[in-house]
Symmetry: C2
Subunit: 554 residues, 2 copies
C-alpha cells in the first residue's frame, strides 16, 4: 500500500475543507495525554535534553564539511550547544540537482502521500518539538506545542492538499477533436507538470516551523527539491521536520537530499549566496522587510515573502468594554508581542469609545487595558506562560527605548519571574499614548511588546490611519470594535482595499493574533507585509509549470 | 434579465471546457456567410474604409486633449490617417481611479456576464475587425479574421471563465465552529475579493487583439479598471473591442472609463510612464524582451509578459518526408514568419533524417522544403494570402541582412506579388544552412521569415541545442519529428524541463504555430519567452487579493 493510498482519505478531507473553509484540523492542538500518550510530555522533554551539547546526527546528509550551531535558550540565556552538519554551497546545489531529477518523476499523488506520512511521524515528536521551540524562540510551552506542532502540521497539510488539487486540475491526456467541416483534426494532447527547480526556504527565529513548512511542503508536493535554511537562532524545530521527511524519502527508495537542511552562522550567513545562485528558482522567506524586498527584486526568481507590518486596532463602540480590554490585553501579552499578527497601534477617538454606559476615554481605556495586562501577568499560573521569553535581546532594548520616546508612558514594561527559568529574558507590554499627528512614532513597526494608544479626531480618522499604515508599512491583522453596521462596513471595505484581514468584536477565548489553517489566509500578499498568502492558489501554482505535448492520433 | 443570466450557459460551458481541455470554440473561426451573414464581408470592408482618414469617435472617453494616429497599411505602405483621442496621463489615471470604486463593487458574475456580452457584440464586427487587422499587422485576410476575431474572442472568454471560476472558489461566508472541549468558538467568516487596482495592457503590432484581450478581460473580470495601450502601429483592431466594452458598460449604468483606450505615438510613447505610475498595479505586455524584462523588474507590480524566443524543430525520423516538408514549409511561410510561434532553428543530424526509404540529408531536405515553400508561394491563390505582408520595414531589412550572414543560403527571400495590393511589403522565407558550432548566428531571435537548418552531430545534440536555446533565449513552440518512442520521450522530457510545448509529427492541416484557446497553454511562463501563460490559474489569481473578515456569532 503506497503512502498515497494510506493517506488518501486525509488528503481528500483536507482538499474538501479547503474548498469549504469550515473548521478543519488534522492534528489535535491540545497536548492531552489521552491523545498523545501518558508519557509523551516527559519523553519529549528527555529527548530534547539529549540533543543539548550534542551533534544532531539524524539527518541523512553525509560528509559534512564541519559542525556548527549557535542556538541559545531565551529561557536560560545560555547556548544549547547543539551541533549541526555544515555543507559547502556547491555540494548542497549539486545534491539538490541530482535529487531533482528523481523527485520530479514521482507523481504528485505519491509525493503528497509521502509528505503526509512525514507529518504523521512528526506528530509523534510534537512534545520534543515543543521543547525545541520553547528553547529557541522563547515561546511559552502551550504556544510552542501548538504553533510548531499541530498548527504547523496543519499548515503543511494545507499546502500539500492545495498543491495536489492544483496539479490534479490539469488532465494528464485528452483526445482533442476539432471539426473542420469535411474532416476533423484529432490530436492526443498531454500535459506535463514541471517543477520549477531548486527551492530555498529561509526561516525566522520566532516561528521556525509554522512559517516555514507551508513553503517547504508546497515546493515538495510540486516536485521541487528544497533547501531549508533556518535562522541560526532556531534550527532544531525545523531540523526535526527535515529529518522525518528524509527518513520517509529513504524508506521509499528515494534520495533524502530532496529535502536538505542548510545551517549557517550569525557571522557567515548563506541566504544571500543561495538566493542568488542561478539554480535556485523558488524562494520562501519570513523575516525583515529589507531582506525580503531585496529577495522580491531578484530577477528570474519566484519569491514568496512574509515581511513585517504595523497592525492596528480600531476602537469605535463596544457592548462590554471590560471584555474588550481583557481580550486586547491578552493579545498584547501573548508571546510578548513577538507574533507577526500582534497588534501595535490602537486608535481611539478623542470623544471616547462608545459603550452602553457612556463613552470611555483613552485614559480610562488605558487604565482598563493596564489592569487587564497586570491581572494576567501577575497571575503566576498564567503570566510567565503567556508571555514566554524574549527571543532576541534587541527586542528587549527596543522596549526600553520605546519608553524614552516622545510619548506618555501609560504602562511601563517590566520583567516577570518565570518559576522554572530564573534567567528567562522577559518583558511585559509597554503602553504609550500618542497623538494622531505623531506619525514618526507609530508609523513604523516596533517589534515586541510595545503598543501605542493613538488619540484620533474620530473613527473616520482611525480608519484612515489604520488603512494608510497598512498601505505604507504593511499589515497582517487588524482588530476592530464597533456596534454600528455602517462603521463596520466602512472598516471592512477600507481595510480590505489595503489587503488587511479584520477581526471584529473579538472577546473571550479567540484573539486577533490567531490565524487558523484551512480557513484564515495568513498574510494576503496585497500590502507591503508580504507578497504571498498561506495558502492561496497562487502560493502553490507558481511552483510548477504546465507544458503541453500534442501529436496527431490514428 | 442580467447579462450574467443571459450568458450563464456560455460561461458554464466555457468553465467546463477549460477543466476538460477538450475542443471548445464559442466563436466560429470560418468566415462563412451562413454564419456571419451574406453581406457581412462587404459590410465589414465598407465600415473599415469609412474609418480611414477619419476620427475614431466611438469611444466614450470625453474631452480629449488632442487627436493622433500613426497607423500604416503594410499592404498599401500608406498611412491610414485614422485619428484617435489623446489624453493626459493624469486624466487617464484619475478616471480609472473613479471607475475602480464602481467596478470593484460589481459582482464577479455580473462582470463576467457583461464581458461576454461585449464579445457577442464584437462578433458582429468580425469582418470589420479582420480588415482593420490586415491593414495594421499585414496579416492575410483569413488569419486576420480568425486571430483577431473568433480566436481572440475565445481567448478572452477563456480568461473571463477562469477568472470567474477562481473567484467563485472562495466561499462568500461560512460559519466556522471550532470545538474547544467544553465550549465552542463560533465565528462568521467572510471573504472579500479585492481587485489589485489599475491594470495596464500594452499591445504589440502583429497580434493587436489576440495577445491583448486575455490580459484585458482577466483584469476586468477580477474588478480592475484597464488602460489599453496598443502599439501605435496597430490601434484600430483593439479600439473596436474597447468601444464595445465601453458601450455595454454605459448601457449597464456603469462608467465607460472602466476600460480606457490610451493611444500614443512613435515619438512620444507613454508605456513607461504609465507602467511606473504608483497607481498602476497590474501590467500585461507583449513585445520585445528588453522592455519586457524591464517591466518584470519594476518593484511592487504584478507583471505578465510575452517576450521573444527562439523556436526549434527537431528532425529525427519520419514516415513521410514530403508531408513533413509541406507542413514545415507552410509554418515558415505563414504570415511571413511573424508569429511568435513560428519555427526558426531546424536541427538535422549529419547522418540525415531517417525515413522508410533511407536517410535524407540536410541538403536533400532543404531542397524538399524549398520546393514546398515555392510551390505554396507561387500558387497565386495561396501564396499572397498565406504570407500576408511584412508589418515593419525593419523586419524586411533583417531578412536582407540574414542573407549576408556567414552561412550558406539555401533559399533566398523574395517579394511576391499581391494581386490586390501592388505596394504590399512582402518577403518569402530565407533558408540558411549553418553548423551547430555557429551559435553566434542561430543563438538569437531573428524575427521574420528567416529559418536556419542546423547540422548537428546527432539527434541528442539537436535536443541539447533546442533545449539550451529555449533556456537561454526562451521558446514558445517546438516541432519534433520522430518515430522512435524513446527519442520522443527524451524530447518531451528535455523540452518540458525548459518549459517549451512540443508538437510531434505534425503533417496535414495542423501547424506548430497554432495554439488553440481552451486547450493549449500559450507561452508557459517557465522560460525567458515570458512569465505568463494563456490562460493558467496564475494568470487570473494574481489579479485580485482575498481578504478575510471574521466576527463572533450569536
Amino acid at each position: 500500500m503506497s503512502y498515497y493510498q494510506q493517506h488518501q482519505e486525509t488528503l481528500d478531507r483536507a482538499i474538501l475543507a479547503l474548498r469549504n473553509r469550515t473548521f478543519f484540523a488534522q492534528y489535535p492542538e491540545f497536548p492531552s495525554p489521552k491523545i498523545y500518550g501518558e508519557t509523551a510530555d516527559e519523553d519529549g522533554r528527555n529527548i530534547f535534553q539529549k540533543h543539548l551539547a550534542n551533534k544532531f546526527d539524524e539527518l541523512l546528509q553525509p560528509e559534512p564539511s564541519g559542525w556548527i550551531g549557535e542556538e541559545e535558550s531565551p529561557y536560560m540565556q545560555q547556548p544549547l550547544n547543539i551541533q549541526y552538519p555544515q555543507f559547502e554551497i556547491d555540494q548542497l546545489i549539486s545534491r539538490a540537482q541530482v535529487a531533482f531529477d528523481q523527485w520530479r518523476k514521482v507523481s504528485p499523488k505519491e509525493r503528497a502521500g509521502l509528505l503526509v506520512e512525514s507529518l504523521e511521524r512528526v506528530k509523534d515528536r510534537f512534545f520534543e518539538l515543543a521543547y525545541a521551540t520553547m528553547h529557541t524562540t522563547g515561546q511559552g510551552f502551550m504556544m510552542a506545542f501548538q504553533a510548531s506542532g499541530p498548527h504547523a502540521a496543519d499548515r503543511a497539510l494545507e499546502a500539500v492538499s492545495l498543491g495536489l488539487e492544483e496539479q490534479l486540475r490539469i488532465p494528464e491526456k485528452v483526445r482533442w477533436e476539432k471539426p473542420m467541416g469535411k474532416y476533423q483534426i484529432n490530436l492526443l494532447k498531454e500535459w506535463r507538470l514541471v517543477p520549477k527547480g531548486i527551492s530555498l526556504v529561509i526561516g525566522c527565529s520566532t516561528f521556525p516551523t509554522w512559517n516555514s513548512v507551508p513553503g517547504i511542503y508546497a515546493s515538495l508536493v510540486a516536485g521541487n527539491p528544497v533547501l531549508v535554511k533556518p535562522h541560526p537562532g532556531a534550527v532544531l524545530p525545523i531540523a526535526l521536520f527535515v529529518s522525518e521527511v528524509q527518513k520517509v524519502l529513504k524508506e521509499s527508495g528515494l534520495d533524502p537530499q530532496i529535502c536538505q537542511l542548510v545551517v549557517d552562522t550569525f557571522a557567515s550567513p548563506v541566504a544571500k549566496t543561495l538566493a542568488e545562485h542561478p539554480e535556485v528558482k523558488l524562494i520562501d522567506f519570513t523575516g525583515n522587510s529589507e531582506f525580503g524586498s531585496y529577495l522580491e527584486g531578484l530577477p528570474g526568481k519566484v519569491v514568496f515573502t512574509e515581511k513585517t507590518g504595523v497592525n492596528s486596532v480600531i476602537l469605535d463602540s463596544v457592548t462590554d468594554i471590560d471584555k474588550v480590554a481583557q481580550n486586547l490585553g491578552f493579545s498584547l501579552s501573548l508571546y510578548s508581542g513577538q507574533m507577526c499578527t500582534a497588534p501595535q497601534n490602537i486608535y481611539i477617538p478623542k470623544a471616547g469609545i462608545k459603550t452602553p454606559e457612556g463613552s470611555v476615554s483613552l485614559s480610562q481605556f488605558a487604565e482598563k487595558l493596564s489592569e487587564s495586562i497586570n491581572g494576567l501577568l501577575d497571575n503566576p499560573k498564567a503570566g510567565p506562560f503567556v508571555t514566554g521569553a524574549v527571543q532576541n535581546r534587541i527586542t528587549s532594548e527596543r522596549v526600553a527605548d520605546a519608553e524614552k520616546m516622545d510619548a506618555r508612558v501609560l504602562l511601563k514594561s517590566r520583567a516577570i519571574e518565570n518559576p522554572m527559568f530564573e534567567n528567562a529574558r522577559t518583558a511585559t507590554p509597554v503602553l504609550l499614548q500618542v497623538e494622531s499627528s505623531q506619525k514618526q512614532l507609530y508609523g513604523q513597526e516596533l517589534f515586541g511588546p510595545i503598543a501605542l494608544l493613538i488619540s484620533t479626531k474620530n473613527t473616520d480618522e482611525s480608519i484612515e490611519l489604520a488603512s494608510e499604515q497598512a498601505k505604507l508599512q504593511g499589515a497582517i491583522s487588524c482588530g476592530a470594535y464597533t456596534t454600528d453596521p455602517e462603521v463596520r462596513e466602512k472598516i471592512a471595505d477600507q481595510m480590505s482595499l489595503v489587503a488587511t484581514p479584520v477581526s471584529f468584536n473579538l472577546t473571550g477565548g479567540i484573539y486577533l493574533n490567531q490565524h487558523a489553517g484551512f480557513s484564515d489566509f495568513h498574510v494576503t500578499g496585497g500590502n507591503p507585509a508580504g507578497n504571498a498568502s498561506f495558502t492561496n492558489p497562487e502560493f502553490v501554482v507558481k511552483r510548477f509549470t504546465v507544458v503541453g505535448m500534442r501529436e496527431p492520433v490514428g
